[in-house]
Symmetry: C2
Subunit: 178 residues, 2 copies
């Protein structure tokens, strides 16, 4: 599988990055669909260097702070493109602990269940609002082929996903109260 490998190749292809940069990306937009901690990222970067897919240059910031700025080698770009162009089957499961719990909701007291649903609803609404604010920053849909086009696609995706989640929670709360 090695999805992290390709996620990292993709990010480095966007722009030369340090492990720290990559860690940050996973906390930003992209983090809605893939995430990894630095403890997974640094070893993977080392491995990709060993495999000859990426290389790095050590840069000194300030007096002594060493940064390793990674960039793609030809082989890395090749493998990235191969992965991107593959027509993979849809993945059957996007794990969701909360929905799993709702499968067993008959064991929760009605009042408390509504509280749990409302707590999720609040968080999801907030998230949705944040995402919407971000998409409002685009005056128009970015040009196809630009990096921003990808940003825009996944942002829209995140918004639709959150909106559906909110819709589900709202409905579920209603269902509980009937």
């Amino acid at each position: 599988m090695r999805t992290l490998k390709y996620a990292i190749l993709g990010l480095i292809n966007r722009r030369p990055s340090t492990g720290y940069d990559i860690t940050k990306e996973f906390k930003a937009e992209l983090g809605n669909f893939w995430r990894a901690r630095h403890s997974q990222i640094y070893p993977e970067l080392k491995r990709l260097v060993d495999e000859g897919l990426i290389e790095y240059e050590t840069v000194i910031a300030g007096e002594a702070l060493e940064k390793k700025v990674y960039s793609l080698k030809d082989k890395g770009r090749e493998e990235l493109l191969e992965w991107l162009n593959k027509d993979e089957k849809m993945v059957p499961t996007a794990k969701d602990k909360f929905r799993l719990r709702m499968y067993f909701s008959s064991n929760i007291e009605q009042e408390h269940l509504v509280e749990l649903l409302e707590s999720q609803l609040e968080q999801r609404r907030e998230k949705l609002a944040t995402l919407k604010k971000k998409i409002d920053g685009y005056s128009e849909v970015p040009q196809f082929g630009s990096q921003e086009f990808g940003d825009y696609l996944v942002l829209e995706s995140a918004i639709l996903r959150e909106a559906a989640y909110v819709e589900w929670l709202e409905r579920s709360i209603k269902r509980c109260s009937q």
Copy 2:
């Protein structure tokens, strides 16, 4: 975390089950939100027995086929209820390989990108249709407190999620062609 632990406790709480039964559940509705293979399930069942949360009875089916039918012990039900009633924070990331790839879509040829999107669209539409057929089997929303209520909630959730996915793919295809 041990989500699998609680997933299994929840399933056994619904009805006494074998490892094989549990494996099947993860391939059915519930599999939309959580999944585990039998190689993960059997060791976990053993562990739960060791921890005194569940117990089993060996049943012979036919001539010689041995089944282990697991059921909840008090302590297991206690821990399940505790987990179900917790107000947990929303999980920030539902991993999605395809959307991750779309983040890097600027590296894919326009024509091929549309093909990839359409391939996903077809699969998602099919999935959505299957789910809708299932919900049509309910003549009405099940009674709150019944097991079917939980089934219904997650089924609706799956439908809304797939519909949002389909909507996103359709929009993205349009965006590519502009």
